[in-house]
Symmetry: C2
Subunit: 481 residues, 2 copies
């Protein structure tokens, strides 16, 4: 970040800090205090100090006293005078930086997945930032902010802005066949927060165990555990959750992704939907529907949300993260009426509601059909990328078995038995490509068949064959060991 070096641009709030020195009339205490502030880290390296005459006036000292203090501290190496730019707290020496702190150096692949740097990222669930309509979003953000009455520019309604709840209720009804009302919608910070809020509300209601798909989006299991619930994994196949294996009791909820199970991409078929809802009704189980990427569907048949079949038994979770941008952290819950109040209260005591201005921005885009236009624009782009990924796999890695291609931003790719996925991952990473081991999404990773999640969302179509070629090389390299 560039610092503006104009004379008026030193941080004026620095004066508040330095004012604490008021009353000192000698240079020595000022020197000592400034040195202590630098040594203790209160004044960070690079901080620009006020010009001596400004500081002198603020502290009620003569300017010469301040100049003397600055001169001494520059001589001692605490401050730095830069010609024409001012006086700064001196940056730490270069060679001190690497050894700073006591952190062990870790291999990038050991870091949280989203923080691993890589030239090409084939992670699941990442949309293409280039497709985000920045100018449109900024324009509507400004318009939303300017239109907001003063009385509403305050703490948000913890359920979310009414305009967005209305727009979402209508949108979800049209596009996902969700049956809800604005009073039952709670805006939250993505599906993950939605799940955390629902799980804690369930825990408070006495629920202890929740069915999850196996595999399912791995981090959700940790979110569930942190909310005090125990996940009960039930296998998934190409037809979605294997409902025949559902327990007959002892669980109070079930988290399912009926439209596009993650990461296998299975879709819950009609017969299983009915069986799942019947099971939920019979045992008084709440179904938690994770509808994370359903807007990105590439075949002609829309798969309606499960919620529409049984609105009283399903709490629906969705977000703008895949369809629009995960940087916004905009998500939503559509809850049965009996649960909506508890979720509102939970959200209130958790964070007092989500940021208001981007809520109003998103509401404007929904109301004006801009979001639908965005989806119509990006769907064919992602479909072509998916087709490119499938074609490249067929040509370069015929032994791989891709699945889950009907929707979303990723493929689930089974690799031949015996492949060491960790070695493939390392070899691919050494060649600039970051891939995801599908096993991390399994309840028992050691037992998972070798597979990767191949996210094609954030790569241009033209780069996909190259990425798959690198994957082939990585596979050959890992297999050769």
């Amino acid at each position: 970040m560039q610092t503006n070096l104009a004379e008026t641009a030193f941080p004026p709030d620095l004066l508040v800090e330095l004012r604490a020195l008021t009353g000192r009339t000698k240079a020595v205490p000022l020197t000592q205090d400034l040195r202590a502030a630098v040594l203790s880290g209160r004044l960070l390296p690079g901080t620009r100090l006020p010009p001596s005459r400004v500081l002198a006036a603020e502290l009620g000292m003569s300017r010469s006293v301040v100049v003397r203090a600055f001169t001494e501290l520059i001589a001692d190496g605490y401050l730095d005078a830069r010609q024409g730019a001012g006086t700064f707290v001196r940056p730490e020496p270069e060679d001190a930086s690497p050894g700073r702190g006591d952190q062990e150096p870790v291999h990038p692949l050991e870091a949280p997945l989203l923080r691993v740097p890589a030239r090409m990222r084939l992670l699941g669930g990442l949309p293409d930032a280039q497709l985000f309509p920045r100018a449109l979003w900024a324009r509507h953000y400004r318009a939303a902010l300017m239109a907001l009455p003063d009385s509403e520019l305050s703490y948000p309604d913890s359920r979310g802005a009414e305009a967005l709840r209305c727009a979402l209720a209508a949108y979800l009804g049209r596009v996902r066949a969700v049956r809800t009302t604005p009073e039952q919608v709670i805006v939250c910070a993505g599906v993950t927060q939605g799940l955390a809020l629902v799980c804690r509300a369930l825990r408070r209601a006495g629920v202890q165990r929740i069915v999850v798909e196996d595999p399912c989006f791995g981090p959700h299991r940790e979110t569930i555990v942190r909310a005090g619930l125990e996940p009960v994994p039930i296998p998934v196949d190409a037809g979605g959750l294997d409902v025949a294996q559902l327990p007959v009791g002892g669980v109070g909820a079930a988290l399912v992704a009926p439209a596009h199970s993650f990461p296998t991409g299975g879709t819950l078929d009609g017969a299983r939907r009915h069986a799942l809802v019947a099971w939920a009704r019979r045992h008084g189980v709440l179904l938690v529907e994770d509808d994370y990427d359903a807007e990105l569907r590439y075949d002609r048949t829309p798969i309606a949300a499960l919620q529409g079949h049984a609105p009283d038994h399903v709490v629906y979770l969705g977000s703008a993260s895949k369809s629009f941008s995960p940087a916004l952290r905009i998500g939503w819950i559509a809850a049965p009426a009996r649960l909506a109040g508890a979720l509102d209260v939970a959200k209130r005591f958790e964070d007092m509601g989500s940021g208001l201005l981007e809520q109003h921005t998103f509401a404007r885009l929904l109301e004006r059909g801009e979001f639908a236009r965005h989806l119509r624009r990006v769907r064919p782009v992602y479909r072509r990328r998916r087709d490119a990924a499938l074609a490249a796999l067929a040509q370069l890695l015929p032994q791989a078995r891709p699945a889950g291609a009907a929707a979303g931003l990723h493929l689930h790719v089974r690799l031949p038995a015996g492949v060491d996925v960790a070695a493939v991952r390392r070899a691919a990473y050494d060649r600039g490509v970051l891939i995801e081991d599908a096993a991390q999404h399994s309840a028992v990773p050691e037992r998972a068949a070798p597979a990767i999640v191949l996210g094609y969302g954030s790569l241009p179509e033209s780069a996909i064959p190259n990425a798959v070629a690198i994957l082939r090389d990585a596979l050959a390299h890992a297999g050769a060991r």
Copy 2:
């Protein structure tokens, strides 16, 4: 919200929903399906349908079939044709609305405080929306969004954007004498989420009980309980927390607001600060510092944050809610290094990080000194409002005893013994003024001496005498019963 009625403006995504009807060639099934969609609430009242020729083309039907379906449904009252505007799902009859659902009508004063409508709001902690620099914020939001590399317009770092963590570490050091590094800062959705994350991390570390000030900001007790901890109230007086009453064991943390206890406004004095830190060190207790409104200080002596005295024993919480706007939900944690990792992980599994774009916007304002300029602009405004409130109380309500005036956006106003604060509140509300019963912030509200929180932040200076006059009338009215 106004709906754009231009012909192209019907929600194009409606087609996705209606496409499910493809293949029907008779008007009767189309009529039935549309009727079912309206009855079930999937098509909400007011939804605009596509023009008949567009829908016919999409569904592969002849237009006459669609027109016939529309005509029948209009005749039956499901749809509404508006001349020149299109065909809409008919709004529900007016008289059906009030009885809808099974909610009891509640008095506005029984609703959550922030949702109670009122002409004048004297709530604590509300800044003036008119002072929020909308144009400046929108300009920097746009600039931040446009400058962001594609690679960063994705899931945020769960700790927060690096630019903001750097800017906050420097800012907090300068202005609050906080000693921290960008690696120890976690950006969160306000102090409330910061507290929730800290409490859950403590609970996971085995902590069961946490000292809270009595009184303290009431909702924090509920946030603490929901995180699985038990609050242990310790009395506060004008000198802040009464450290002599701190327990000698059995608590793992203490939540304090040393600069400006809420709502009494007490400031922890120097001797008590030292005693508190010594107690924390002796018993291995983590101090949680709630520094919610410290930037708004009206006397000349800045009160440094407690954190600077003992960075290894204090986790610091702050936000932009009082100093800037609570609509943004921007807050921050500066944690001891040993806790920062756990909070990062907690934030990741809670909501995968806070919204990125407003983080970068706020970072720009901090880096460029714009935030400091904002504070210099608003401090004198709030100080004049505080002075007006004190003057009006002295003149109109000499029996009231205001306290906590040195900082923030509210006064704590003791009322004469025996006053029925609930009755005063109702009488004030009937006269258009919403006030806050201070007792809700006490651990045992029934035992609290009669007092109100008088927030002057969101009222123009000129309106304050009138508001206090209404309060006097309300007091007289309530006393006369």
